[in-house]
């Protein structure tokens, strides 16, 4: 055996303390108890179901989808603007009369009225 080995031999590791084993066992027991509690905590109640958890979110998604489709729709009809344009072209009095029925008669008599996109 070399001199170096003789020297290294002189350093001896002390025995583990008597309390160490008890300490580790205590910690192990606590870990096992924690695990059992966390496992039992994650069990779902029998009357629980996915619709209860996700129902609200599903409704919200449906509403947002409907609003989005409506917003992105290519046909945009603004009725007020059409009426205003027609009134400008025909004059408000004539338009009023036409709506009330007089103009219908004159239309039947041969007058051609353009009412745009009505």
């Amino acid at each position: 055996m070399s001199n170096l080995n003789n020297l290294l031999d002189q350093v001896k590791s002390p025995e583990p303390s008597d309390l160490l084993k008890a300490r580790i066992l205590q910690q192990a027991k606590a870990q096992r108890a924690d695990k059992t509690v966390s496992e039992s905590g994650s069990v779902r109640a029998a009357n629980d179901n996915h619709w209860k958890r996700w129902g609200g979110l599903a409704v919200l998604v449906i509403i947002l989808g409907a609003v989005g489709i409506n917003t992105l729709s290519p046909v945009q009809t603004n009725e007020t603007e059409v009426w205003a344009e027609t009134a400008q072209t025909m004059g408000y009095e004539y338009l009023y009369a036409w709506v009330e029925g007089d103009a219908v008669e004159s239309n039947e008599a041969g007058a051609e009225i353009e009412v745009g996109n009505l």
């Binding site: 170096l4 020297l7 290294l8 590791s13 025995e15 160490l20 910690q27 870990q31």
Partner: protein, 185 residues
């Protein structure tokens, strides 16, 4: 063919979470694992912390443990060594100057003083080694592992491990030259 793990008999109990199985495992290996911590860190209290971490880590892993690849003791040695290397990386060398009591009633006071002086010098020489070299000395010299086993624990090739060990011995000889020469004379 792989050697059967001598701790296989404890595995069913450990998987089931039986504390008596853990107690048996500690009866077999607590001293060995604590010694890794002591030679690596130079402090008995920190060595016990390393042992506690190692055994509790295995306790957590036990239900998933598959025998065959490494023996349980090899796995624990690897965990303990890595834990020590992590602690050294974070805090630096922590060898204390306290000389352990090694009282022997047959020795004279002068012999005891000389012996303590030598022990202290060896401890300081060990603490002066780079972490990986200290790990190699711990595994090969103090744990009596083969170079192949030591290399596997440190995740190195056998050749790299041999080189590490050779450098460690060279550094120790240099640090302990007065004592080495005194013994030679």
């Amino acid at each position: 063919m792989a050697k059967a793990d001598p701790d296989n008999d404890l595995l069913p109990g450990l998987r089931e979470g039986e504390e008596s199985a853990l107690a048996h495992l500690m009866d077999r290996h607590l001293k060995t694992i604590t010694a890794i911590g002591y030679y690596m860190l130079g402090d008995a209290s920190l060595a016990e912390d390393v042992a506690q971490t190692t055994f509790l880590k295995f306790w957590q892993q036990a239900p998933k443990w598959e025998p065959g690849q490494a023996t349980l003791l090899t796995w624990m040695r690897r965990v303990a060594t890595n834990d020590c290397l992590d602690r050294l990386r974070k805090k630096g060398p922590i060898y204390s100057d306290r000389v352990p009591d090694q009282a022997d009633e047959t020795e004279t006071a002068l012999e005891e003083l000389e012996k303590n002086d030598t022990v202290d010098a060896v401890r300081r020489a060990l603490s002066g080694l780079p972490d990986a070299q200290r790990a190699a000395i711990t595994l090969s010299y103090y744990q009596h592992l083969s170079q192949k086993e030591g290399a596997a624990i440190l995740g190195q090739s056998v050749k790299a491990y041999e080189s590490l060990l050779s450098r460690a011995r060279k550094n120790l000889k240099a640090a302990l030259s007065p004592w080495v020469e005194r013994e030679t004379v």
